[in-house]
Amino acid sequence: AQKVTQAQTEISVVEKEDVTLDCVYETRDTTYYLFWYKQPPSGELVFLIRRNSFDEQNEISGRYSWNFQKSTSSFNFTITASQVVDSAVYFCALSPPYNFNKFYFGSGTKLNVKP
């Protein structure tokens, strides 16, 4: 069974604070893909990152960084020096390799960044 858990329902921070969004997944597949998407109030999900299960190297993109730990089945997302524009709902998703785009999404974490 595939499952993604985002235990943090909502997080509020003040601008310039760092914030980490947690993602824990369950799968029996040895090959899989993990994604993070951002959903602003406009509704569309915006792709942030894809990681395959064989690549545990952490990644940094500007103020964003991702920590993938296969041993704990976690794929956490950190925003450094948060900004008001980062306010959105963030989703973590799991995708088995041959599943015809059947992503398993977590329930999302709503991030509120206050000025």
Binding site: N99, N101, G108
Partner: protein
């Protein structure tokens, strides 16, 4: 370069009615997937269309049906609407590859359906 476009953006129906939602994929994409997102929840996979055929289906009843046209656009139809069908319906497109699980999905802004 236009992304995924969906119509209508909002609509209100009553129980028992039928609804059709439309989606045009991103230019160059050939695969369309539909997701249902209830309020405060993550998107749930409904089905995927590729080469005008339904390739994979999530845990949704037969009241949910779809179609893909030769130009890759797609429709989602829901019959006999229930109150619980109220949700944001998201269309996502991608370019089919060997490892479909690796596809990055491009999402539209969704169609918000309210069933009264």
């Amino acid at each position: 370069d236009a992304g995924v476009t969906q119509s209508p953006t909002h609509l209100i129906k009553t129980r028992g009615q039928q609804v059709t939602l439309r989606c045009s994929p991103k230019s160059g994409h050939d695969t369309v997937s539909w997701y249902q997102q209830a309020l405060g929840q993550g998107p749930q996979f409904i089905f995927q269309y590729y080469e005008e055929e339904e390739r994979q289906r999530g845990n949704f009843p037969d009241r949910f049906s779809g179609h893909q046209f030769p130009n890759y656009s797609s429709e989602l139809n829901v019959n006999a609407l229930l109150l619980g069908d109220s949700a944001l319906y998201l269309c996502a497109s991608s370019l089919q590859g060997v490892y479909s699980g690796a596809n990055v999905l491009t999402f539209g802004a969704g169609s918000r359906l309210t069933v009264l």
